[in-house]
């Protein structure tokens, strides 16, 4: 399926934009602040533009005119911190946390975070723009370019493998499949299921995530009418 453009075309590849953001944040020694279930990041005007273009975080409206704060999700903050290595994140004591400390804080705060972070970072590493998918009843939506240019192509569900937390997983019953596929169809998205396989690793540390496998599966309805032999014959003639 090709991206559905919104009438404008993107100028720069996402990898270039993210790379510029990374360089800029490293140069300014950017530091985020943990605040409940989000991370707040103060950004220079140039970084504000790059964060917008990379589609990471969302600006926070404050009384301070000269400073622009951004609210990052746990996935976004940990990705900037541990994968791009371009920010540090501090806790209540204003001291920067190590990647592992940050990881343990987030895992304790949010059920299922390891699976969500693995899925987020998996897609981001491939230069997909990843945003929250709750509007469509999925974990994420994935865009090929910035959402200003294209509609999201994929509705993404991140599911733990069999040994994981099956009790709370999605797509265990047919009615859930039907519901998700019908909704994806009505909003012109393809359902992408990321099966996160732990390979027997425990979720004890951030580094153990490296050993997780991600299986990508596209789920679509099979249309018997569209798959009949004589249909193919007609096309071939």
């Amino acid at each position: 399926m090709a991206p559905r453009w919104k009438g404008k075309t993107a100028e720069e590849p996402m990898s270039v934009i993210v790379s510029k953001l990374q360089t800029s944040l490293i140069e300014s020694n950017a530091q985020g602040l943990l605040s409940g279930c989000v991370v707040l990041l103060e950004a220079l005007p140039e970084q504000t533009k790059l964060l917008y273009r990379a589609c990471i975080g969302r600006p926070v409206i404050t009384a301070e005119n000269d400073k622009q704060w951004h609210q990052l999700s746990f996935e976004e903050a940990l990705y900037l911190c541990s994968v791009l290595k371009c920010i540090k994140v501090a806790g209540e004591n204003k001291c920067a946390k190590s990647d592992e400390e940050l990881w343990h804080y987030m895992v304790a705060k949010r059920v299922g975070f390891p699976v969500m972070f693995k899925a987020y970072s998996h897609l981001r590493r491939k230069n997909w723009v990843v945003r929250a998918g709750s509007q469509y009843g999925v974990d994420f939506v994935a865009y090929r370019y910035h959402p200003a240019f294209v509609h999201s192509e994929y509705a993404v569900l991140a599911l733990p493998d069999e040994d994981g937390d099956v009790e709370n997983a999605r797509l265990k019953v047919w009615s859930d499949y039907h519901c998700t596929l019908r909704l994806c169809g009505s909003v012109a998205k393809t359902l992408l299921v990321l099966h996160i396989c732990r390979n027997g690793e425990d979720v004890v540390s951030l580094s153990s995530l490296e050993h997780y496998n991600v299986e990508e599966r596209i789920v679509t309805r099979w249309n018997p009418e569209a798959s009949r032999e004589n249909q193919t014959m007609i096309v071939k003639k």
Copy 2:
């Protein structure tokens, strides 16, 4: 929410139609045949009309012109058999099964059947027209009158209580809620969740179903904007 009419209005209440069907089937000693996961029922022309008007079963196209066969779901067949007591159902040996024998056959054939049957019969007893809901990713859809007259008002999920088969239940995670509610909204249906509480009863017999409780819950999104105090004030002025 009022029923959404399809331009025509229903003539007779559903209770009257079902009652006529019941009388007619009893008079003709109607007998269905178990066939895999459905029950086949041969009907007189008058019964064919009443089955259509009651929205029970669907006609089967056969080579026999003088006979009209109908395909009933397990829920429909057991409802006609054990609640309305107007048909008998025979197995492979052509002998009519008792209600309990039929029940055991159906429970063995379909996972989760007790919960589905309890939900189906609960709604049918209240004169709702109940059809399969897989098109909308739910267990049933419920119509106030025949689907020829109105659109279905409710998308119905039948869920076992906590002691039940939680592993395969719906609505265990937020993303499933979001997905189901978004879909229900887009097809103008209200989500009706029927929690089937076993009250400690085992599913050993059809008669044990009588002791099950059904809790009806409507699930809708709360819209903060529509619930603000000053909104009420404006309306009051």
